[in-house]
Symmetry: C2
Subunit: 242 residues, 2 copies
Protein backbone atom coordinates (compact mmCIF):
# COMPACT_ATOMS: atom_id res chain seq x y z
CA UNK A 1 0.00 0.00 0.00
CA UNK A 2 2.40 2.64 -1.17
CA UNK A 3 0.51 4.82 -3.59
CA UNK A 4 -2.09 5.85 -1.06
CA UNK A 5 -2.52 4.76 2.50
CA UNK A 6 -6.29 4.53 2.89
CA UNK A 7 -7.51 1.38 1.11
CA UNK A 8 -8.91 2.52 -2.19
CA UNK A 9 -10.47 -0.73 -3.26
CA UNK A 10 -8.33 -0.65 -6.38
CA UNK A 11 -5.53 -3.22 -6.47
CA UNK A 12 -2.00 -1.87 -6.78
CA UNK A 13 -1.33 -3.84 -9.97
CA UNK A 14 -4.44 -2.28 -11.45
CA UNK A 15 -3.28 1.22 -10.57
CA UNK A 16 0.07 0.51 -12.18
CA UNK A 17 -1.59 -0.96 -15.26
CA UNK A 18 -3.86 2.06 -15.57
CA UNK A 19 -0.89 4.36 -15.24
CA UNK A 20 1.04 2.64 -17.99
CA UNK A 21 -2.01 2.51 -20.22
CA UNK A 22 -2.50 6.22 -19.77
CA UNK A 23 1.14 6.68 -20.71
CA UNK A 24 0.57 4.75 -23.93
CA UNK A 25 -2.67 6.56 -24.68
CA UNK A 26 -1.23 10.04 -24.32
CA UNK A 27 1.89 9.18 -26.26
CA UNK A 28 4.36 9.24 -23.36
CA UNK A 29 5.24 5.71 -24.52
CA UNK A 30 5.10 5.58 -28.30
CA UNK A 31 4.13 2.53 -30.34
CA UNK A 32 7.06 0.17 -30.79
CA UNK A 33 9.03 1.85 -28.04
CA UNK A 34 10.56 0.05 -25.12
CA UNK A 35 9.00 0.59 -21.72
CA UNK A 36 11.21 1.18 -18.71
CA UNK A 37 12.44 -2.05 -17.15
CA UNK A 38 10.26 -3.82 -14.63
CA UNK A 39 12.56 -2.83 -11.79
CA UNK A 40 12.47 0.82 -12.82
CA UNK A 41 8.69 0.81 -13.10
CA UNK A 42 8.50 -0.81 -9.68
CA UNK A 43 10.63 1.98 -8.26
CA UNK A 44 8.65 4.80 -9.81
CA UNK A 45 5.38 3.37 -8.49
CA UNK A 46 7.06 2.21 -5.27
CA UNK A 47 5.73 -1.33 -5.55
CA UNK A 48 7.24 -4.77 -5.81
CA UNK A 49 8.49 -5.99 -9.16
CA UNK A 50 5.97 -8.84 -9.07
CA UNK A 51 3.20 -6.29 -8.83
CA UNK A 52 4.53 -4.58 -11.93
CA UNK A 53 4.70 -7.94 -13.69
CA UNK A 54 1.05 -8.55 -12.95
CA UNK A 55 0.18 -5.15 -14.38
CA UNK A 56 2.22 -5.80 -17.52
CA UNK A 57 0.67 -9.26 -17.85
CA UNK A 58 -2.82 -7.81 -18.07
CA UNK A 59 -1.67 -5.21 -20.59
CA UNK A 60 0.00 -7.94 -22.64
CA UNK A 61 -3.14 -10.06 -22.54
CA UNK A 62 -5.04 -7.12 -23.94
CA UNK A 63 -2.42 -6.72 -26.63
CA UNK A 64 -1.21 -3.28 -25.57
CA UNK A 65 2.36 -4.36 -24.82
CA UNK A 66 4.60 -7.28 -25.68
CA UNK A 67 7.35 -8.62 -23.41
CA UNK A 68 10.59 -9.95 -24.89
CA UNK A 69 12.68 -11.99 -22.55
CA UNK A 70 16.13 -10.61 -22.07
CA UNK A 71 15.34 -7.47 -23.98
CA UNK A 72 12.42 -5.53 -22.62
CA UNK A 73 8.74 -4.82 -22.88
CA UNK A 74 7.54 -2.96 -25.93
CA UNK A 75 4.47 -0.95 -26.75
CA UNK A 76 2.51 -2.74 -29.43
CA UNK A 77 1.82 -1.31 -32.86
CA UNK A 78 -1.42 0.43 -33.57
CA UNK A 79 -2.89 -2.77 -34.93
CA UNK A 80 -5.73 -4.20 -32.94
CA UNK A 81 -4.55 -7.28 -31.11
CA UNK A 82 -7.18 -9.91 -31.72
CA UNK A 83 -6.73 -12.94 -29.47
CA UNK A 84 -8.20 -16.08 -30.91
CA UNK A 85 -9.76 -17.95 -28.05
CA UNK A 86 -12.67 -20.29 -27.71
CA UNK A 87 -14.52 -17.37 -26.25
CA UNK A 88 -14.12 -14.69 -28.87
CA UNK A 89 -16.35 -11.59 -28.85
CA UNK A 90 -15.50 -8.73 -31.13
CA UNK A 91 -16.96 -6.12 -28.80
CA UNK A 92 -15.05 -7.43 -25.79
CA UNK A 93 -11.74 -7.60 -27.63
CA UNK A 94 -12.06 -4.14 -29.09
CA UNK A 95 -13.38 -2.70 -25.86
CA UNK A 96 -10.50 -4.21 -23.93
CA UNK A 97 -8.13 -2.29 -26.17
CA UNK A 98 -9.76 0.96 -25.16
CA UNK A 99 -11.57 1.39 -28.46
CA UNK A 100 -15.24 1.75 -29.11
CA UNK A 101 -16.73 -1.28 -30.88
CA UNK A 102 -19.65 -0.92 -33.24
CA UNK A 103 -21.57 -3.21 -35.52
CA UNK A 104 -23.19 -2.22 -38.80
CA UNK A 105 -25.84 -4.16 -40.64
CA UNK A 106 -25.49 -4.32 -44.41
CA UNK A 107 -28.13 -6.73 -45.60
CA UNK A 108 -29.70 -10.13 -45.06
CA UNK A 109 -31.14 -12.74 -47.37
CA UNK A 110 -32.17 -16.36 -47.50
CA UNK A 111 -30.34 -19.11 -49.30
CA UNK A 112 -30.06 -22.87 -49.35
CA UNK A 113 -27.20 -24.59 -47.57
CA UNK A 114 -24.34 -25.71 -49.76
CA UNK A 115 -22.70 -28.97 -48.82
CA UNK A 116 -19.94 -27.18 -46.93
CA UNK A 117 -22.29 -24.85 -45.05
CA UNK A 118 -24.55 -27.77 -44.20
CA UNK A 119 -21.65 -29.74 -42.79
CA UNK A 120 -20.48 -26.83 -40.67
CA UNK A 121 -23.94 -26.20 -39.27
CA UNK A 122 -24.91 -29.85 -38.87
CA UNK A 123 -27.80 -29.51 -41.33
CA UNK A 124 -28.76 -31.21 -44.57
CA UNK A 125 -27.66 -29.86 -47.92
CA UNK A 126 -30.31 -27.49 -49.20
CA UNK A 127 -31.63 -26.59 -45.76
CA UNK A 128 -32.91 -23.00 -45.53
CA UNK A 129 -30.34 -20.53 -44.20
CA UNK A 130 -30.30 -16.86 -43.29
CA UNK A 131 -27.28 -15.03 -44.66
CA UNK A 132 -26.26 -11.79 -42.90
CA UNK A 133 -23.69 -9.31 -44.13
CA UNK A 134 -22.24 -6.94 -41.56
CA UNK A 135 -19.30 -4.66 -40.84
CA UNK A 136 -17.60 -4.28 -37.51
CA UNK A 137 -15.77 -1.14 -36.53
CA UNK A 138 -13.44 0.07 -33.82
CA UNK A 139 -13.52 3.80 -33.17
CA UNK A 140 -15.44 4.23 -36.44
CA UNK A 141 -12.69 2.51 -38.43
CA UNK A 142 -14.00 -0.59 -40.22
CA UNK A 143 -12.09 -3.66 -39.11
CA UNK A 144 -13.84 -6.51 -40.85
CA UNK A 145 -16.79 -7.50 -42.96
CA UNK A 146 -18.53 -10.74 -42.13
CA UNK A 147 -20.89 -13.07 -43.86
CA UNK A 148 -22.78 -15.14 -41.32
CA UNK A 149 -25.03 -18.10 -41.96
CA UNK A 150 -27.64 -19.44 -39.55
CA UNK A 151 -30.42 -21.99 -39.77
CA UNK A 152 -33.55 -20.19 -40.94
CA UNK A 153 -35.63 -22.72 -39.03
CA UNK A 154 -33.93 -22.26 -35.69
CA UNK A 155 -33.52 -18.50 -36.05
CA UNK A 156 -36.56 -17.17 -37.91
CA UNK A 157 -36.26 -13.52 -38.91
CA UNK A 158 -32.63 -13.50 -37.80
CA UNK A 159 -31.88 -10.80 -40.36
CA UNK A 160 -34.40 -8.36 -38.92
CA UNK A 161 -33.26 -9.08 -35.39
CA UNK A 162 -29.63 -8.47 -36.27
CA UNK A 163 -30.49 -5.24 -38.03
CA UNK A 164 -31.82 -4.05 -34.68
CA UNK A 165 -29.22 -5.31 -32.25
CA UNK A 166 -26.18 -5.20 -34.58
CA UNK A 167 -24.37 -7.84 -32.52
CA UNK A 168 -24.15 -11.59 -32.92
CA UNK A 169 -24.03 -12.05 -29.15
CA UNK A 170 -27.28 -10.15 -28.77
CA UNK A 171 -28.78 -11.88 -31.79
CA UNK A 172 -28.46 -15.36 -30.34
CA UNK A 173 -29.41 -14.05 -26.90
CA UNK A 174 -32.67 -13.00 -28.51
CA UNK A 175 -33.31 -16.69 -29.18
CA UNK A 176 -32.51 -17.65 -25.60
CA UNK A 177 -28.89 -18.62 -26.06
CA UNK A 178 -26.90 -17.14 -23.23
CA UNK A 179 -23.48 -18.44 -24.14
CA UNK A 180 -21.55 -19.86 -27.03
CA UNK A 181 -18.01 -20.61 -27.97
CA UNK A 182 -15.80 -20.80 -31.00
CA UNK A 183 -15.61 -24.40 -32.17
CA UNK A 184 -13.31 -24.00 -35.16
CA UNK A 185 -11.28 -21.21 -36.69
CA UNK A 186 -9.49 -21.28 -40.02
CA UNK A 187 -7.35 -18.40 -41.18
CA UNK A 188 -6.22 -17.62 -44.69
CA UNK A 189 -5.33 -14.46 -46.52
CA UNK A 190 -6.22 -12.91 -49.84
CA UNK A 191 -6.67 -9.68 -51.74
CA UNK A 192 -9.68 -7.56 -50.97
CA UNK A 193 -12.43 -7.64 -53.58
CA UNK A 194 -14.18 -4.54 -54.83
CA UNK A 195 -17.25 -4.86 -52.62
CA UNK A 196 -15.29 -5.44 -49.45
CA UNK A 197 -12.83 -2.67 -50.35
CA UNK A 198 -15.66 -0.16 -50.21
CA UNK A 199 -17.07 -1.57 -47.02
CA UNK A 200 -13.65 -1.65 -45.35
CA UNK A 201 -12.61 1.70 -46.75
CA UNK A 202 -9.57 -0.09 -48.12
CA UNK A 203 -7.63 0.49 -51.31
CA UNK A 204 -7.91 -2.16 -54.00
CA UNK A 205 -5.09 -4.65 -53.94
CA UNK A 206 -4.65 -4.59 -50.19
CA UNK A 207 -4.45 -7.86 -48.28
CA UNK A 208 -7.22 -9.21 -46.09
CA UNK A 209 -7.19 -11.90 -43.48
CA UNK A 210 -9.99 -14.36 -44.10
CA UNK A 211 -11.34 -16.15 -41.06
CA UNK A 212 -13.77 -19.02 -41.38
CA UNK A 213 -15.29 -19.95 -38.06
CA UNK A 214 -18.17 -21.82 -36.50
CA UNK A 215 -19.72 -21.06 -33.14
CA UNK A 216 -21.47 -23.71 -31.07
CA UNK A 217 -23.64 -23.54 -27.98
CA UNK A 218 -22.69 -24.98 -24.61
CA UNK A 219 -23.94 -28.38 -25.77
CA UNK A 220 -21.67 -28.30 -28.80
CA UNK A 221 -24.56 -27.72 -31.20
CA UNK A 222 -23.56 -25.48 -34.16
CA UNK A 223 -25.24 -22.08 -34.13
CA UNK A 224 -23.58 -19.95 -36.77
CA UNK A 225 -20.82 -20.25 -39.31
CA UNK A 226 -19.21 -17.23 -40.86
CA UNK A 227 -16.51 -15.91 -43.13
CA UNK A 228 -14.95 -12.69 -41.94
CA UNK A 229 -12.53 -10.55 -43.98
CA UNK A 230 -10.23 -8.40 -41.84
CA UNK A 231 -8.25 -5.45 -43.13
CA UNK A 232 -4.80 -6.96 -42.60
CA UNK A 233 -3.18 -3.64 -41.86
CA UNK A 234 -5.53 -2.98 -38.96
CA UNK A 235 -5.39 -6.17 -36.94
CA UNK A 236 -3.09 -8.86 -35.76
CA UNK A 237 -4.35 -12.16 -34.47
CA UNK A 238 -2.94 -13.57 -31.30
CA UNK A 239 -2.98 -17.34 -30.98
CA UNK A 240 -2.84 -18.64 -27.45
CA UNK A 241 0.12 -20.92 -27.05
CA UNK A 242 -1.29 -22.79 -24.08
Amino acid sequence: MSIQDAPSGVALWRQVADGIERGIADGRFAAGEKLPGEIEIAETYRVNRHTVRRALATLAERGLVRAERGSGTYVETGRIAYPLRSRTRFSEIVGAGGREPRGQFIDASEQEATRELARELGLKTGAPLVRIESVRLADRVPICVSTTWLSAERFPDAGKVFANVRSMTKLVAHYGIRDFRRASTRITAGIVDATDATRLDLALGRPVLVVDSTDVDTMGQPLTTKRARFAAERVEFLVENG
Copy 2:
Protein backbone atom coordinates in the same frame (compact mmCIF):
# COMPACT_ATOMS: atom_id res chain seq x y z
CA MET B 1 -16.09 -12.58 -7.51
CA SER B 2 -19.61 -12.40 -8.82
CA ILE B 3 -19.91 -9.21 -10.83
CA GLN B 4 -17.28 -10.30 -13.32
CA ASP B 5 -15.21 -13.42 -13.33
CA ALA B 6 -11.84 -12.17 -14.56
CA PRO B 7 -10.17 -10.29 -11.71
CA SER B 8 -10.63 -6.63 -12.45
CA GLY B 9 -8.31 -5.28 -9.81
CA VAL B 10 -11.22 -3.36 -8.35
CA ALA B 11 -12.49 -4.72 -5.05
CA LEU B 12 -16.11 -5.84 -4.96
CA TRP B 13 -16.97 -3.49 -2.11
CA ARG B 14 -15.62 -0.64 -4.20
CA GLN B 15 -17.76 -1.63 -7.17
CA VAL B 16 -20.83 -1.75 -4.94
CA ALA B 17 -19.95 1.60 -3.33
CA ASP B 18 -19.48 3.17 -6.75
CA GLY B 19 -22.81 1.77 -7.91
CA ILE B 20 -24.68 3.19 -4.94
CA GLU B 21 -22.91 6.52 -5.24
CA ARG B 22 -23.92 6.72 -8.88
CA GLY B 23 -27.48 5.96 -7.82
CA ILE B 24 -27.39 8.87 -5.39
CA ALA B 25 -25.75 11.19 -7.90
CA ASP B 26 -28.29 10.55 -10.66
CA GLY B 27 -31.23 10.77 -8.28
CA ARG B 28 -32.20 7.10 -8.28
CA PHE B 29 -31.87 7.38 -4.51
CA ALA B 30 -33.12 10.78 -3.39
CA ALA B 31 -31.79 12.73 -0.41
CA GLY B 32 -33.37 11.58 2.82
CA GLU B 33 -34.69 8.42 1.23
CA LYS B 34 -34.08 4.96 2.59
CA LEU B 35 -31.76 2.71 0.65
CA PRO B 36 -32.72 -0.91 0.04
CA GLY B 37 -31.77 -3.16 2.94
CA GLU B 38 -28.29 -4.59 3.10
CA ILE B 39 -29.57 -8.06 2.22
CA GLU B 40 -31.40 -6.74 -0.80
CA ILE B 41 -28.40 -4.79 -2.00
CA ALA B 42 -26.28 -7.90 -1.53
CA GLU B 43 -28.69 -9.85 -3.71
CA THR B 44 -28.82 -7.31 -6.50
CA TYR B 45 -25.03 -7.14 -6.68
CA ARG B 46 -24.72 -10.87 -5.94
CA VAL B 47 -22.23 -10.36 -3.13
CA ASN B 48 -22.12 -11.14 0.54
CA ARG B 49 -23.87 -8.86 2.97
CA HIS B 50 -20.53 -8.09 4.63
CA THR B 51 -19.26 -6.78 1.33
CA VAL B 52 -22.24 -4.46 1.11
CA ARG B 53 -21.59 -3.33 4.65
CA ARG B 54 -18.06 -2.38 3.74
CA ALA B 55 -19.32 -0.39 0.78
CA LEU B 56 -21.88 1.41 2.93
CA ALA B 57 -19.26 2.07 5.61
CA THR B 58 -17.09 3.99 3.15
CA LEU B 59 -20.08 5.96 1.91
CA ALA B 60 -21.06 6.75 5.50
CA GLU B 61 -17.54 7.87 6.30
CA ARG B 62 -17.75 10.29 3.41
CA GLY B 63 -21.09 11.52 4.68
CA LEU B 64 -23.14 10.36 1.70
CA VAL B 65 -25.34 7.97 3.68
CA ARG B 66 -26.27 7.42 7.30
CA ALA B 67 -27.09 4.03 8.83
CA GLU B 68 -29.75 3.73 11.53
CA ARG B 69 -29.73 0.50 13.42
CA GLY B 70 -32.99 -1.34 13.24
CA SER B 71 -34.38 1.03 10.68
CA GLY B 72 -32.30 1.34 7.57
CA THR B 73 -29.67 3.31 5.74
CA TYR B 74 -30.60 6.73 4.47
CA VAL B 75 -29.26 9.04 1.84
CA GLU B 76 -27.92 12.16 3.50
CA THR B 77 -29.30 15.59 2.86
CA GLY B 78 -27.64 17.88 0.41
CA ARG B 79 -25.69 19.51 3.20
CA ILE B 80 -22.00 18.94 3.16
CA ALA B 81 -21.11 16.42 5.82
CA TYR B 82 -18.17 17.88 7.66
CA PRO B 83 -16.54 15.33 9.97
CA LEU B 84 -14.70 16.98 12.85
CA ARG B 85 -11.57 14.98 13.37
CA SER B 86 -8.15 15.78 14.65
CA ARG B 87 -7.08 15.68 11.04
CA THR B 88 -9.47 18.08 9.37
CA ARG B 89 -8.73 19.44 5.90
CA PHE B 90 -11.40 21.37 4.08
CA SER B 91 -10.20 20.31 0.66
CA GLU B 92 -10.15 16.64 1.59
CA ILE B 93 -13.59 16.66 3.17
CA VAL B 94 -15.19 18.49 0.28
CA GLY B 95 -13.32 16.43 -2.29
CA ALA B 96 -14.43 13.23 -0.60
CA GLY B 97 -18.02 14.31 -1.09
CA GLY B 98 -17.45 14.55 -4.82
CA ARG B 99 -17.38 18.36 -4.85
CA GLU B 100 -14.68 20.69 -6.01
CA PRO B 101 -13.03 22.59 -3.16
CA ARG B 102 -11.66 26.06 -3.66
CA GLY B 103 -10.11 28.71 -1.46
CA GLN B 104 -10.38 32.46 -1.96
CA PHE B 105 -8.18 35.09 -0.44
CA ILE B 106 -9.92 38.22 0.82
CA ASP B 107 -7.30 40.22 2.64
CA ALA B 108 -4.52 40.11 5.22
CA SER B 109 -3.30 42.52 7.84
CA GLU B 110 -1.12 42.69 10.92
CA GLN B 111 -2.37 43.12 14.46
CA GLU B 112 -1.22 42.61 18.03
CA ALA B 113 -2.31 39.53 19.95
CA THR B 114 -5.18 40.00 22.34
CA ARG B 115 -4.98 38.03 25.56
CA GLU B 116 -7.24 35.29 24.15
CA LEU B 117 -5.35 34.97 20.87
CA ALA B 118 -2.05 34.96 22.72
CA ARG B 119 -3.21 32.14 24.98
CA GLU B 120 -4.41 30.05 22.03
CA LEU B 121 -1.17 30.52 20.12
CA GLY B 122 1.12 30.19 23.14
CA LEU B 123 2.48 33.74 22.66
CA LYS B 124 2.65 36.82 24.82
CA THR B 125 -0.12 39.40 24.77
CA GLY B 126 0.74 42.02 22.22
CA ALA B 127 2.87 39.72 20.08
CA PRO B 128 2.72 40.53 16.35
CA LEU B 129 0.19 38.47 14.42
CA VAL B 130 -0.85 38.07 10.80
CA ARG B 131 -4.61 38.06 10.30
CA ILE B 132 -5.94 36.42 7.13
CA GLU B 133 -9.50 36.56 5.86
CA SER B 134 -10.56 33.90 3.39
CA VAL B 135 -13.57 32.13 1.91
CA ARG B 136 -13.81 28.46 1.15
CA LEU B 137 -16.13 27.12 -1.51
CA ALA B 138 -17.46 23.80 -2.70
CA ASP B 139 -18.51 23.66 -6.33
CA ARG B 140 -18.34 27.48 -6.41
CA VAL B 141 -20.78 27.76 -3.52
CA PRO B 142 -19.28 29.60 -0.54
CA ILE B 143 -19.32 27.40 2.54
CA CYS B 144 -17.49 29.39 5.15
CA VAL B 145 -15.48 32.52 5.79
CA SER B 146 -12.51 32.24 8.08
CA THR B 147 -10.37 34.61 10.04
CA THR B 148 -7.01 33.02 10.76
CA TRP B 149 -4.30 34.31 13.05
CA LEU B 150 -0.64 33.25 12.92
CA SER B 151 2.53 34.44 14.57
CA ALA B 152 4.07 37.13 12.37
CA GLU B 153 7.50 36.14 13.62
CA ARG B 154 7.22 32.49 12.79
CA PHE B 155 5.35 33.04 9.51
CA PRO B 156 6.68 36.22 7.93
CA ASP B 157 4.69 37.38 4.92
CA ALA B 158 2.05 34.76 5.60
CA GLY B 159 -0.58 36.94 3.99
CA LYS B 160 1.24 37.13 0.68
CA VAL B 161 1.93 33.43 0.72
CA PHE B 162 -1.69 32.57 1.37
CA ALA B 163 -2.84 34.88 -1.38
CA ASN B 164 -0.83 32.70 -3.74
CA VAL B 165 -1.57 29.20 -2.50
CA ARG B 166 -5.10 29.83 -1.14
CA SER B 167 -4.84 26.89 1.25
CA MET B 168 -3.80 26.71 4.89
CA THR B 169 -2.25 23.30 4.33
CA LYS B 170 -0.04 24.71 1.58
CA LEU B 171 0.66 27.87 3.56
CA VAL B 172 2.23 26.04 6.50
CA ALA B 173 3.92 23.62 4.10
CA HIS B 174 5.63 26.68 2.67
CA TYR B 175 7.27 27.14 6.06
CA GLY B 176 8.38 23.52 6.21
CA ILE B 177 5.49 22.11 8.24
CA ARG B 178 4.41 18.87 6.66
CA ASP B 179 1.64 17.91 9.03
CA PHE B 180 -0.61 19.42 11.65
CA ARG B 181 -3.69 18.48 13.59
CA ARG B 182 -6.67 20.08 15.19
CA ALA B 183 -6.00 20.62 18.87
CA SER B 184 -9.26 22.21 19.93
CA THR B 185 -12.61 22.90 18.31
CA ARG B 186 -15.42 24.97 19.78
CA ILE B 187 -18.73 25.31 17.99
CA THR B 188 -21.35 27.95 18.52
CA ALA B 189 -24.00 29.51 16.34
CA GLY B 190 -25.09 33.03 15.55
CA ILE B 191 -26.66 35.27 12.94
CA VAL B 192 -24.62 36.24 9.94
CA ASP B 193 -23.31 39.80 9.95
CA ALA B 194 -23.49 42.08 6.94
CA THR B 195 -19.91 41.52 5.79
CA ASP B 196 -20.09 37.75 6.02
CA ALA B 197 -23.52 37.70 4.39
CA THR B 198 -22.03 39.19 1.25
CA ARG B 199 -19.04 36.89 1.31
CA LEU B 200 -21.22 33.82 1.89
CA ASP B 201 -23.88 34.94 -0.55
CA LEU B 202 -26.32 34.53 2.32
CA ALA B 203 -29.45 36.52 3.18
CA LEU B 204 -29.29 38.71 6.26
CA GLY B 205 -30.72 37.07 9.36
CA ARG B 206 -29.64 33.57 8.40
CA PRO B 207 -27.83 31.42 10.96
CA VAL B 208 -24.14 30.63 10.85
CA LEU B 209 -22.14 28.01 12.66
CA VAL B 210 -19.14 29.57 14.31
CA VAL B 211 -16.14 27.32 14.78
CA ASP B 212 -13.17 28.42 16.83
CA SER B 213 -10.24 26.11 16.41
CA THR B 214 -6.52 25.89 16.91
CA ASP B 215 -4.14 23.76 14.88
CA VAL B 216 -0.88 22.46 16.29
CA ASP B 217 2.12 20.78 14.72
CA THR B 218 3.20 17.22 15.42
CA MET B 219 5.05 18.45 18.53
CA GLY B 220 1.88 20.04 19.88
CA GLN B 221 3.15 23.57 19.20
CA PRO B 222 0.30 25.93 18.19
CA LEU B 223 0.46 27.08 14.57
CA THR B 224 -2.77 28.87 13.77
CA THR B 225 -5.99 29.74 15.48
CA LYS B 226 -9.05 30.71 13.57
CA ARG B 227 -12.71 31.59 13.70
CA ALA B 228 -14.72 30.19 10.82
CA ARG B 229 -18.33 31.08 10.05
CA PHE B 230 -20.21 28.37 8.15
CA ALA B 231 -23.48 28.92 6.32
CA ALA B 232 -25.61 26.70 8.54
CA GLU B 233 -27.91 25.65 5.73
CA ARG B 234 -25.02 24.27 3.68
CA VAL B 235 -23.15 22.05 6.13
CA GLU B 236 -23.60 19.65 8.95
CA PHE B 237 -20.81 18.74 11.28
CA LEU B 238 -20.18 15.12 12.10
CA VAL B 239 -18.60 14.46 15.46
CA GLU B 240 -16.80 11.18 15.78
CA ASN B 241 -18.27 9.20 18.63
CA GLY B 242 -15.24 7.10 19.24
